[in-house]
Amino acid sequence: MIHQYKKNGYNIVLDVNSGAVHVVDDLSYDLIEECDNRLKAISKEPSTDVKGISNPFWSLINKEEIVESFCKSDKYSGTDKSEIQEALDEIDELVNDEELFTVDRYENHIEAYKDRENVVKALCLHIAHDCNLACRYCFAGKGEYQGEKELMSFEVGKKAIDFLVANSGVRRNLEVDFFGGEPLMNFEVVKELVSYARSIEEANNKHFRFTLTTNGVLLSDEIMEYLNDNMDNVVLSIDGRPDVHNRMRPFPNGSSSYDLIIDKFVKFAKLRGQEKYYVRGTFTHNNLDFSKDVLHLADLGFKQVSVEPVVAEPSEDYALREEDLPILYKEYESLAKEMVRRCGTDEDFNFFHFMIDLEGGPCVYKRLSGCGSGTEYLAVTPHGDLYPCHQFVGNEDFLMGNVDAGITKTEIRDKFKSCNVYAKKECKDCFAKFYCSGGCAANSYNYAGDILGSYEIGCKLQKERIEDAIMIQAATQ
């Protein structure tokens, strides 16, 4: 399976099953398209010639006929036959090296994958179900997740960390994310839990990586110093331009929050050496020109930027709609072009959704399984209840157990465990399946009523982002 497209002057061919990415000239682009059409016509019959991921039908393609037909075509009648033959020989070499027109054999590994050991390696600790902002789009319902205002006690947090260690098998690297609400509203417990976790690392042969997400309201020099010493990653919530940010992220009394946080975030990012953090924003129907928000943050000196599409009920006035998509595609593309322009200059920055690791990326198993919600990754409420991830907190249908009893509703875990790209019909023929790994289970549930469904707008945006991200690689490598 291949996916070919043209963007910003580059002809790009993805070989989905090998992960190979090729930048090709016009002639090769057209030849590959012709070969693909011919392979599709032949390969309707299932092949029994199973060997690696090489295409079993390639030998049936009449290469001489293709060269002849190109020589006679209007577009290539003036091109030397030897040139066409040379390009086709290069394509043949890639096919023989299993880097083009490869077939999908990973599905054969799914059964073994589904039988994998149950291991938990990451917890999202809802350290505070309370918030000092009242963001309009908050999936946590202004911090409280459809429940009462509540702060996690040290005792509950300690049990959560003990649960993580006890259920992590031989995994050494464990992750704990301090999340909310606003975690800094319960900062003393954050510090106690970090100390506790560090104190049990050696005896258990574990290494904890901590992340804290904050809106910045309570951020002080003292807290910055602590976070720089103890957090592997911090996520700083800011939406971009002041009017965009203030519209969606006001205080409960309606007043603006941008001015209170911006200088602190700029200082904090500098103190972290512009590494291991993200300024993280959300764009909505109200700021479809979100590339300006990304560039606003980049122009303030932030080097690690993530601005992501809102997840909202379709009935909300700020929800993204199908008709917004053409605008959003152009926004992503113009942002990608701007990033190519800035590459290697002082204005260079990372955009989380354009980051793609073509050389040392995840293995097939990771790409099949996605984020690990409900299995490797769980959310813990201030009360100690366990949910598949932060997005499901408050939905009693997804309450899996608690830090005292562990996972008691194993059927919920089993359902999440069965969630992979082959279990979703929309993913099977999608070129993006090994990049997004089937997408976000919560998005699927919210839009399709089933974690095995899909969120169409999210999928379309994801595909655009992948095309742009690869174009950036093509332009800058």
Partner: protein, 48 residues
């Protein structure tokens, strides 16, 4: 090659043999929290 430039040298299919150690970061911990991005993560298994 004259007509084709391949950007990556490692094949996804090779990770079937040595992959699956599970030491990699959980996707949502990095930044997103509302979307699933896996392709941008790095493998932590240096022997792969």
């Amino acid at each position: 090659m004259k007509h084709i430039k391949t950007l990556n040298t490692k094949k996804l299919s090779n990770t079937v043999k040595k992959g699956g150690c599970g030491e990699c970061q959980t996707s949502c911990q990095s930044a997103c929290k509302t979307s699933c991005t896996v392709g941008n993560q790095s493998c932590e298994n240096k022997s792969k």
